[in-house]
């Protein structure tokens, strides 16, 4: 079931079009990643989905209702967590979660607060002011606040930024479990590619305010034709250098360790050739392209475009 439908969404700031007609949807129970280089429009898009930024044109429908006209009703079933937002720092964790809970219709508020305290491991911090918490603890409190109304749709902007690896893993598992158990839909932005790859069913890649990729992480990665071949060479290094030069391949050499970027289709032939030339090696590994490679390709082209723009 489609629970979010965005059609031709545009946003213009001071005559500059930041978001250029986004159209996408999200299914119930889906985890959708939004990736893109800095300035691609991720945060702007999330703000419009939360109703705290008015689009210049286009429509956002949530639960088949227009966000512009049913904002309060829709936000009752949505929530968010963002690194751009803090909490009143003099208030304790308990007080912050308590006042936030009153903004939603929650049947048993006390029970819910206790559940949240346990789920997000906040027992020790419960009566501490937010100002006394570490960055990671604040992120955890923010995530706890985002679950206070048991939302059907959750918007998470960099959810595990500044969390230590152990807690980050716990939080990732928590959200994966929420989706599995309660069929929650989650929109996630993150710079942690392995997080996006492991959590998201589908990823939107934004670039310059447009969607340039909309597929599963695996399918997006397949769009990269190159793999990285790593070899620890022990014999006939010169022959390998000749082959690399002949095939016009990119390579990085550190001591005897070679990392060669090569088209996946050429890989069997190249391996055959190095064997034929009697190139000896003790270690070999092939890194298949992943989402990060795809993202880097997009990001690189953005930087190059901007550089060309700056030069002209």
């Amino acid at each position: 079931m489609t629970i979010l439908e965005v059609k031709n969404l545009k946003k213009t700031f001071k005559k500059s079009e930041i978001i250029k007609g986004l159209t996408f949807d999200m299914q119930e129970g889906e985890i959708l990643g939004i990736l893109g280089p800095n300035g691609a429009g991720k945060t702007t898009t999330l703000q419009m989905l939360l109703g705290i930024l008015t689009p210049t044109s286009g429509t956002i429908k949530v639960f088949d209702k227009d966000l512009a006209t049913h904002k309060s009703e829709i936000l009752e079933k949505m929530n968010f967590s963002s690194t751009y937002v803090d909490m009143p720092w003099r208030l304790t964790v308990k007080e912050n979660l308590e006042w936030s809970s009153w903004l939603y219709e929650i049947p048993d508020r006390r029970k819910r607060l206790n559940q949240i305290k346990e789920l997000f491991l906040l027992e020790k911090q419960w009566n501490q002011p937010v100002s006394a918490l570490s960055a990671g603890q604040k992120t955890r409190v923010n995530l706890a606040r985002s679950m206070i109304n048991f939302p059907s749709i959750l918007l998470l902007d960099e959810p595990t930024a500044s969390l230590d690896p152990e807690v980050a893993t716990y939080i990732r598992e928590f959200f994966a479990n929420q989706r599995k158990t309660y069929n929650k839909s989650i929109i996630l932005t993150s710079h942690n590619m392995s997080e996006v790859e492991s959590l998201c069913d589908r990823v939107l890649i934004l670039k310059d305010g447009m969607i340039v990729g909309n597929d599963t992480p695996a399918n997006l990665a397949k769009k990269i034709e190159y793999s990285h071949l790593r070899l620890r060479v022990t014999k006939n290094v010169a022959e390998l250098d000749k082959l690399i030069s002949l095939r016009k391949l990119e390579s990085v050499q550190e001591d005897k360790q070679y990392t060669i970027t090569i088209k996946e289709t050429l890989l069997p032939l190249f391996l055959y050739e190095i064997t034929k030339k009697n190139v000896g090696y003790t270690e070999i590994s092939i890194d298949k392209p992943n989402l990060e490679d795809y993202f880097m390709k997009i990001a690189k082209s953005t930087v190059e475009t901007k550089s060309r723009g700056d030069m002209s």
Binding site: L50, L53, L75, Y84, L91, S100
Partner: protein, 261 residues
């Protein structure tokens, strides 16, 4: 409008109050200092025989009643500033709350703090100078309403400006009521003002309240105009300030709520 959401916003500002010495000082320390200084000054003047006994109550009454417009304005603008300083605006408005619910909440917190501050000041005035503001009678209630409403007008107007221009103009939160105070006649009759200032005072609703207060203290009845005309003025100003406030809120939604700083 949902009451639970209004309560939620109220709780947010209430918890801030109990954790913030600045806000507690505003509520208790300054009214106390004002009463102490003006009480001593007026008592001294009365003791020299140069003025009547009613001066003490007239001056202290001015200080006490001024709490209402001051707190009405201050709570709206400082509540908004608190959320800007704490980067908490998005936490408020990316939720089901309606802007009108926020408006009602900050009005309510203004009433709450005014009543506490006024009650405290009135007790201090009785204890230190035997000046009982409650001798003015039941008219205090509609006057308090008018005064706080006037504070809301300024509060919403300044909040609108802060929404548009950010915290760089935050000083207006402390200044704005001081700008209007010379025309309000808090401590003196409007007749002592130059004629151009009297014309302005005619359109400052709270000036009628302070004139009325002095009439009652002098043993005369308060004119009906001390209620009716200022109420009309206040309602007109309140509607204009709310219109301006909603305009500013729509404008910041076009820029993005996180852009306000």
């Amino acid at each position: 409008m949902k009451l639970h959401r209004i309560w939620g916003i109220f709780l947010r500002y209430f918890y801030n109050l109990i954790h913030t010495y600045d806000r507690l000082t505003d509520m208790f320390f300054w009214p106390f200092i004002d009463l102490l200084l003006w009480g001593l000054t007026s008592s001294y003047l009365v003791s020299t025989g140069s003025t009547s006994n009613t001066l003490v109550l007239a001056l202290l009454g001015g200080i006490m009643l001024w709490i209402f417009p001051w707190r009405g304005q201050y709570e709206i603008t400082v509540s908004l500033l608190e959320d800007l300083w704490n980067r908490n605006l998005v936490n408020l408005f990316a939720t089901p709350i309606l802007f009108s619910e926020w408006v009602v909440s900050v009005m309510f917190i203004g009433i709450f703090k005014s009543i506490i501050s006024f009650a405290f000041a009135s007790v201090i005035a009785v204890v230190l100078y035997a000046a009982n503001i409650y001798t003015l009678g039941i008219i205090l209630l509609p006057w308090a309403g008018l005064l706080i409403m006037f504070g809301w007008v300024f509060g919403f107007f300044i909040a609108s400006l802060i929404m548009r221009y950010g915290t760089k103009i935050q000083t207006l939160a402390w200044m704005s009521m001081a700008i209007v105070s010379p025309f309000a006649g808090v401590f003196y009759p409007i007749s002592v003002l130059p004629s151009w200032a009297q014309t302005i005072a005619h359109y400052v609703p709270v000036s009628y309240v302070f004139e009325g207060m002095r009439s009652i203290i002098a043993g005369q009845p308060a004119p009906l105009s001390a209620l009716f005309w200022p109420l009309i003025l206040c309602l007109i100003y309140l509607m204009l300030s709310l219109y301006f406030l909603y305009g500013s809120y729509s404008a910041i939604l076009k820029r993005g709520l996180i852009s306000v700083e």
